[in-house]
């Protein structure tokens, strides 16, 4: 695994890239309505087409873009407030980055930075699913990132162009593609008692957190409790053996 991207022939690296692209197609279907909505919402909130496109190109983060656009639309335009909110909303990426770190830190720094830039919820899920099934591949992750990034920027542009012609693409029901695909990735992982308990704890904490915690803290709360419970249970199992 250490040599991926170094000693593998180019053809194989490039085919891994395209497999990453191909495997991401179903999930990208679920993201396009959000990109279109982002473009439509931004214009409605008084941003220019150039501003929202620049945001999708540079930030590439769905949830925090929606929040920032909503704040700007409501007349809240303090730099610190919007930037700190973005930081808080995206803190969950620290955990995702930490869980991918064992694979990523072996790569050249520039590639690490490029892969990190493209790590969103969906590309993270695709990458860990691949690790679970076949092991890590940087080219594969890059392929998934490339497709999602292009889709995000292009669908924002489509939203900008269609603004005024269509309303609320999120009402189509395509947003269900996201939880559906995450289910297909989650269920094969639930093979050990530890995994089932981890999933149960995460589910409870996520639901309670969604109801009572601000913003996206429920993801962090669910994830930290899942990691803690899983880590502790594995320690117990080891001692029992």
């Amino acid at each position: 695994m250490e040599n991926i991207g170094k000693e593998f022939p180019c053809a194989q690296v490039s085919s891994e890239f395209w497999i990453g692209v191909r495997d991401s197609i179903p999930l990208v279907v679920g993201v396009i309505p959000f990109g279109i909505t982002c473009g439509i919402m931004a214009l409605a909130a008084g941003l220019t087409s150039g501003e929202v496109l620049l945001m999708s190109i540079c930030v590439f983060a769905g949830a925090s873009q929606f929040i920032a656009i909503t704040m700007l639309g409501a007349g809240i335009n303090g730099w610190g407030l919007i930037v700190v909110t973005t930081l808080l909303v995206n803190l969950r990426h620290l955990l995702m980055g930490a869980s991918l770190a064992p694979y990523i830190i072996r790569l050249p720094v520039a590639l690490q930075a490029l892969l990190s830039f493209g790590m969103v919820d969906e590309t993270y899920a695709i990458t860990i699913d691949r690790i679970y099934k076949k092991g890590y591949s940087a080219s594969y992750q890059l392929g998934a990132n490339a497709l999602f990034y292009s889709a995000w920027v292009l669908s924002t542009a489509v939203g900008v162009l269609l603004s005024g012609y269509i309303s609320d693409p999120l009402a189509w029901g395509l947003d269900f593609a996201m939880p559906a695909i995450f289910l297909t990735m989650l269920i094969p992982r639930l093979v050990s008692p530890t995994a089932v308990v981890v999933c149960g704890v995460a589910a409870m904490v996520a639901i309670v957190g969604m109801l009572y915690l601000p913003g996206q803290w429920y993801i962090i709360a669910a994830c930290v409790s899942a990691a803690a419970v899983g880590g502790l249970m594995e320690k117990e199992v080891k001692h029992a053996n």
Partner: protein
């Protein structure tokens, strides 16, 4: 392009990239400690669960466990399909068909 909006976007881009890259930077010198890796092993299950559950149970921001919640019904269809067929494409297709039919039938 308004200057203040430009700087807001650049600030958002910088902190977002920070959250995505910081863990790799932190562990590059030291490597990932074994105990930490053992804990992080469960992060994928935690994140997947945390992304799925609210999308199915609180699609509109409040807890909705009823037959009017299309996301929950389609989620149950997808879960059963995944256990039954063990195939991602079949599961997603059945789930989406369930979702779109519920939406269009206006149940």
């Amino acid at each position: 392009m308004r200057t203040e909006i430009f700087f807001i976007i650049m600030g958002m881009a910088a902190v977002t990239f920070f959250t995505r890259f910081a863990s790799a930077v932190l562990f590059r010198q030291t490597g990932v400690p074994t105990w930490f890796e053992r804990w992080m092993k469960h992060v994928p299950t935690g994140i997947l669960t945390a992304l799925i559950m609210p999308a199915l149970l609180l699609p509109k921001g409040y807890l909705d466990i009823s037959i009017h919640n299309h996301y929950l019904l389609a989620g149950i269809v997808a879960t059963v399909a995944m256990y039954r067929f063990r195939n991602a494409i079949v599961t997603m297709s059945l789930g989406l068909v369930a979702m779109l039919s519920l939406r269009w039938l206006g149940v």
